[in-house]
Subunit: 426 residues, 2 copies
């Protein structure tokens, strides 16, 4: 790995997402060596992936080079690699580029799509957890319409223009809203020789309301917004199987769709090597104590999506979102400093800042701890919060510029097939 | 192909580059049906590809959706396809999505990399004629440094940090300059544990000066700028072969480099089906008369890079750049209108507006017909002209924002490996 051995303790952080970066930034200017590992050389601002997938933002504007986040810090190292396993007895991690010793290990590997074991859906469905995956969806959406134009079989054409989004959480709702806006403002102009009214956008939710994690008012309003945008919202319906065309459900309604986007579940992106007891099945996360320590390991911590810190208030751990990840990261960094300074560490207390989701132009829902509101103002709040949270001035500026342009012009100009997904032009 | 047959004559344009778009835009609001074919769904602003390859611009900011260019025009159609061949006797083209009849055919397929038959260089070298190819170069450059960090064999590390650019035309010069600026401003910060001074940037030119197509003063100054930036300029040297590491030349100097970018030649991207006599070997372009007509065909035209309109003043046709393509496109459109109106068509006269190339920050060379200048002012002129020529307000704004940011911060933030080229993390 070519990382110098110093007399300072070494903190190895796996993952440069919200959680990992929060730890890394907080540890600067200390007598520590920090090694950040990630399989990408950039941080991904996941909350805006759906805008990349629907042509509203360029991928580069929601990615930030990880080396830049640490390149003015002393004794910080970054390595582009995938961690294969942890060897807790040896205080080592095995990676694709060699072995690395650690004094403290921070697992911040985030989450991955949970298909709940369904191999067919995994094979034929699309997922949206990374930038390349979002770009695949972007390509596929446009390729579908280019193909639909040529298709003379009405059934097949309908299937090409039928989009099934499984999962009514923030990802599903935001993606459906963005697709609906494409249907309204862009596709009829781009494909005047296609009857865009036959395009269908379906959101399938297994429980009885959308945005389960939010207030009832937010759920109702989100559903209302989606329906007004022409989205078909299906509740209490479960997708059982998919063969690339036929969507099999547990209800009477079945679908024929070329595109199925699976946003119905995530699970912790756990790493091999730790004892089985460390992992709990809700859903496949590392069980951690109130100090983010992985069960029975004094110097191994897990934070963010991959960690489940169960408490009376949060019996299933915190939700898999940016806020718990950032707060846990910052807190853990302070605790690591305390450990090194032989001070007493403090338990983590989550400060719920609320949650929000946007459905479309002037349409968002916001749940603050003491105030829940929906509509235009919520939409502005949503934009402001997301713009503010983006890393990097350039990214903020490019995203802001795109949003202003898209708002004024009712447009989304990055509807480009830069890397074909189906690769129809062989 | 699903394009309605009308009583209007049909103009089929192959290629949505500078030439093809110039024709298409000029033909609007007439009693014509226009069909634009392209293998991408976007127009590429090729002069800025090198900035995508070196992390200065996002790909989406130099691409523009082709459908948008025509979506408010009546009787205009776009199809995403690759043309296989022309059947001139039948007035038809065969494509990957079916056959299409034409009344007038405009071939504006541009150019592709010319390896002059060298299969090894084609296999191991990189080319930069499209956005995906530029993104491959971007990924490869960064992957090389990530790998160099880990490489303990000094020879191998040197080869990873050795960049050979073959060809001293605008592409080679601009790319070398941009790489040199990465070496100066970004790489030492990103890779403090790597001795970036050992990075080599070589430009190999077969003739005795760079930028052959420009004035002698421009050539000298460009070379001077490159040398000041630390680029090794090799003249009168020819690359003969490459195996992915060893660059074989016809001189005493040989190179060991993991990256070889081939910018030493382009050729017309001709289409099959026309008589052999239509194609001339300088370099593989359609020979056209002063009305852009392909030899012996009354209703087949070729414009831009793929066409060679030989005249006393331009014995080898016009240079393969944006200006001749745009001017030929506009002129051809006017002639097509004249043909339909039974008026006399006019021969094309090229208005040379000059040429320019940028080497780096505050360093460019500009040859106007009556004024040749170099340096800071030339650099501002270069930027202004390129910004002005970009299609789309959003693209202009995003590029401008990036340039201002990069200028003030000495930075290039899109140094992202979004799709790995080597795919080292399997």
């Amino acid at each position: 790995m070519n990382i110098p051995q110093t007399s300072f303790p070494r903190v190895v952080i796996i993952g440069g997402g919200f959680a990992g970066l929060a730890v890394a930034k907080e540890l600067k200017n200390l007598e520590l060596q920090v090694v950040l590992l990630d399989k990408h050389n950039y941080h991904t601002f996941q909350p805006l992936l759906y805008q990349v997938a629907t042509g509203g933002l360029e991928p580069d504007s929601i990615a930030f080079p990880l080396r830049k986040t640490i390149n003015d810090l002393e004794n910080y190292f970054f390595r582009l690699t995938k961690v294969i396993e942890v060897l807790p007895e040896k205080n080592k991690v095995n990676t694709t580029i060699g072995t690395l010793e650690y004094d403290y290990l921070v697992i911040a590997t985030g989450s991955e799509t949970n298909y709940f074991g369904n191999k067919n859906i995994e094979k034929y469905g699309m997922e949206m957890k990374s930038i390349p995956q979002s770009l695949n969806i972007r390509s596929l959406i446009i390729e579908n319409f280019e193909e639909a134009l040529l298709e003379t079989d009405l059934e097949k054409r309908k299937a090409l223009m039928n989009f099934v989004i499984v999962g009514g959480g923030p990802t599903g709702v935001e993606l459906a809203g963005a697709l609906a806006e494409m249907k309204k403002g862009i596709l009829p102009k781009d494909y005047p020789d296609l009857d865009i009214r036959t395009m269908q956008i379906n959101v399938i939710q297994s429980s009885n309301r959308l945005l389960k994690g939010m207030s009832k008012k937010a759920s109702e309003k989100a559903e209302d917004f989606l329906i007004k945008l022409g989205v078909n919202v299906w509740k209490n319906l479960r997708v059982l199987d998919y063969d690339g065309l036929n969507v099999k459900t547990n209800g009477e309604d079945q679908f024929k769709a070329v595109t199925l986007i699976w946003a119905a579940g995530v699970k912790g992106a756990t790493i091999k090597g730790l004892k089985e007891e460390c992992i709990i099945d809700r859903p496949c996360r590392f069980k951690v104590d109130e100090f983010s320590r992985v069960n029975e390991c004094e110097n191994i911590f897990a934070i963010g999506d991959v960690a489940s810190m169960e408490s009376e208030k949060y019996p299933y751990g915190h939700s898999m979102m940016a806020q718990p990840a950032i707060q846990q990261g910052k807190h853990l960094a302070k605790n690591i400093i305390k450990i090194i300074e032989n001070k007493e560490i403090k338990p983590f207390v989550y400060k719920d800042k609320g949650s929000m989701a946007t459905i479309g132009r002037n349409k968002a829902v916001v749940d603050l701890p003491n105030w829940k509101f929906q509509g235009v103002f919520a939409w502005f709040v949503w934009m402001f919060v997301h713009l503010f949270s983006l890393i990097g001035f350039r990214n903020k500026a490019v995203v802001f510029l795109n949003w202003v342009y898209n708002y004024i012009r009712f447009d989304r100009e990055t509807r480009l097939i830069i890397r074909p997904y189906k690769n129809t032009l062989k």
